[in-house]
Amino acid sequence: MRTPLLEIKNLETVFDTARGSIKAVDGVSLRVQSGETLGVVGESGCGKTMLALSIMRLVPGNGRIANGEIIFSGHDLLKLSEDEMRARRGSEISMIFQEPMTSLNPVLRIGEQIAEAIRLHQNLPAKKALELSVELLRDVGIPDPQKRIRDYPHHLSGGMRQRVMIAMAMSCHPQLLLADEPTTALDVTIQAQILDLISGLKEKNNMAVIFITHDLGVIAQNAQTVAVMYAGKIVESAPVEALFAAPLHPYTRGLLESIPAVCAASGRKGEHLKTIPGTVPGLYDLTAGCRFCDRCPDTFADCKSKEPTLQEVQAGHFVSCWKYDGKN
């Protein structure tokens, strides 16, 4: 097997609060190869954003990475000094966010902002960096880039701002791109264009992408491998075709069945959507058993008392559920 570009082993990201400690990311392990897109899917609060911020070592405020390794091209990122990490952030590993407006500086022209990112990592004169940013804007499909570099973020539409963010993220040809809900705030026809852009850039640069989203359609179209997160843990991971053709974890199945499109396409108009009863458990009051067992349609004796671990059930298809234990 090829050595993966990124390998995360047993990552735990903990937040210390007045009510006690909670694990936003709880024992996550995963691998990403160069040129591959890993989709991370889950509902709000499942820890998918904290996973990305942990890789960047940008966990906010009262959070800390308590355990685990993040091995990126041979080095454990968690063992690097802050200076060494800063040199990698934005050059070898880049990140784009959901809201391009709050991630851009409103009082700087976009050309200056991209040039700043370039000059942080490459020893280039200001003029050269600005020329490069024109090229980058052209690459991400912004018309008339020579003029646009003099615009401020508020001059641009949401889709154009996200293109600027992508141009900035691509400025130093990263090996790994973390995309955290990059199209969630965009209209569907703009989303389609941004997704095409990201996958085109991925192909061109043989880049690895971790694509975080709550939208299973976006995952189906863009990822090669999928990890489903629930309450801080990966509950299922598989190649994309296998996951959508035969989802194993009851949570994954519930998610897929609650999408209105799947229902409408099967001609069940007017009937109820299938739902997952209840809500995601609070991370403060987790029990000893499986985190999904209160909402699960088929539970076994072990579910309430013992937490399942990820097991490889079929080649490349991992699931964390007692149903596939062999005993049940």
């Binding site: 709000s44 569907v188 359609g217 179209q221 609650s258 209105p260 109820h272 739902t275």
Partner: protein
């Protein structure tokens, strides 16, 4: 289904944006542009479109939160913009709205029960005791428990807050419910719960829905008829089955094609998706810069919404030939 509850004709809404400090020239945004639409009693009319297409302005005009620049909206045959004070109050009892943002649409300093009761108090319905009973009954109907009654909005999850919003709209027994992106900020598993609830309530309370959403999957699930809006205009109006089975307008097709399918095998797109929804300067169809079927007439004349067949209306010069 021939009984029109609402009749919108020639509706226009323009907003003037100031050009900024140094340019006194004002920019006009035509948020709703010559909209003609009927909402029939008992149906769910879905309105779908991207941001800035005017769908929320339409909802605000229908609830009289905004006044139109031109045109009229008739509710049961009477123009809502010429109502007297008393008639307006009874209109507001008959037409209720549910909003997208469940946090900002609820008063953070009021309990769930008092918010659900408030419409009854405003309309002076029943005694204090009856109002409380009615509110509790509605809470139960939308899936909230009795112990939720005295909690404040921040103590609820997003899905539960939307249930409060629905209860508050429902408590006056309205005839028309306008839902402006009611499930857009919810997670998919919660979204399904709320959609099922809205479906049940429609049957139990004999409601008519005007359901606004940008999500074609949601619209497909809930609507009987669908209006597609683009830059203030309705570009296609037809049945649910027709929109998804035989879309006429190139914009409708682009929207449908842009929705990522949940089938990883199905990756091919039917058409090239390009451009942004930006108002055009000058003449012609608003969609021409993004349309791959553009011909000469599209640059000269804006196509009106025309009858295509018994079920469908479409605003495209080339409807049926492409």
């Amino acid at each position: 289904m021939s009984d029109a509850l609402v009749e919108i004709s020639g509706l226009n809404k323009k907003y003037a944006l100031s050009g900024g400090f140094l340019s006194p020239q004002k920019r006009i945004v035509h948020a709703v542009n010559d909209v003609n639409l009927q909402v029939f009693r008992g149906e769910t009319l879905g309105v779908v479109g991207e941001s800035g297409c005017g769908k929320s302005t339409l909802a605000r005009l229908m609830t009289r939160l905004e006044k139109p620049t031109g045109g009229s909206i008739s509710f049961k045959g009477e123009n809502i913009f010429s109502y007297t004070k008393g008639a307006l109050k009874s209109y507001r009892r008959g037409v209720q709205i549910i909003f997208q943002d469940t946090y900002s649409s609820l008063n953070p300093r009021k309990t769930a029960l008092s918010m659900i009761q408030e419409p009854l108090t405003i309309h002076r319905l029943g005694s204090a005791r009856e109002r409380e009973e009615k509110a509790l009954e509605i809470m139960n109907r939308v899936g909230l428990k009795k112990e939720h009654a005295n909690r404040y909005p921040h103590e609820f999850s997003g899905g539960q807050r939307q249930r409060i919003g629905i209860a508050r709209a429902l408590v006056l027994n309205p005839e028309l419910m306008i839902a402006d992106e009611p499930v857009s900020s919810l997670d998919v598993s919660i979204q399904a719960q709320i959609l099922n609830l809205l479906l049940d309530l429609k049957n139990d309370f004999h409601l008519t829905y005007l359901f606004i959403s940008h999500d074609l999957n949601v619209i497909r699930f809930i609507s009987d008829r669908i209006a597609v809006m683009y830059l203030g205009r309705i570009v296609e109006l037809t049945t649910n089955e027709n929109i998804y089975g035989r879309p006429l307008h190139p914009y409708t097709r682009m929207l449908l094609d842009a929705v990522p399918s949940c089938d990883p095998q199905q990756k091919e797109r039917k058409m090239k998706i390009k451009g942004e929804a930006r108002p055009q300067n000058g003449e012609g169809c608003a969609f021409q810069n993004r349309c791959e079927h553009r011909v000469e007439i599209c640059e000269k004349e804006a196509p009106p919404l025309k009858k295509y067949d018994e079920q469908s209306h479409c605003a495209c010069h080339r409807a049926g030939t492409i």
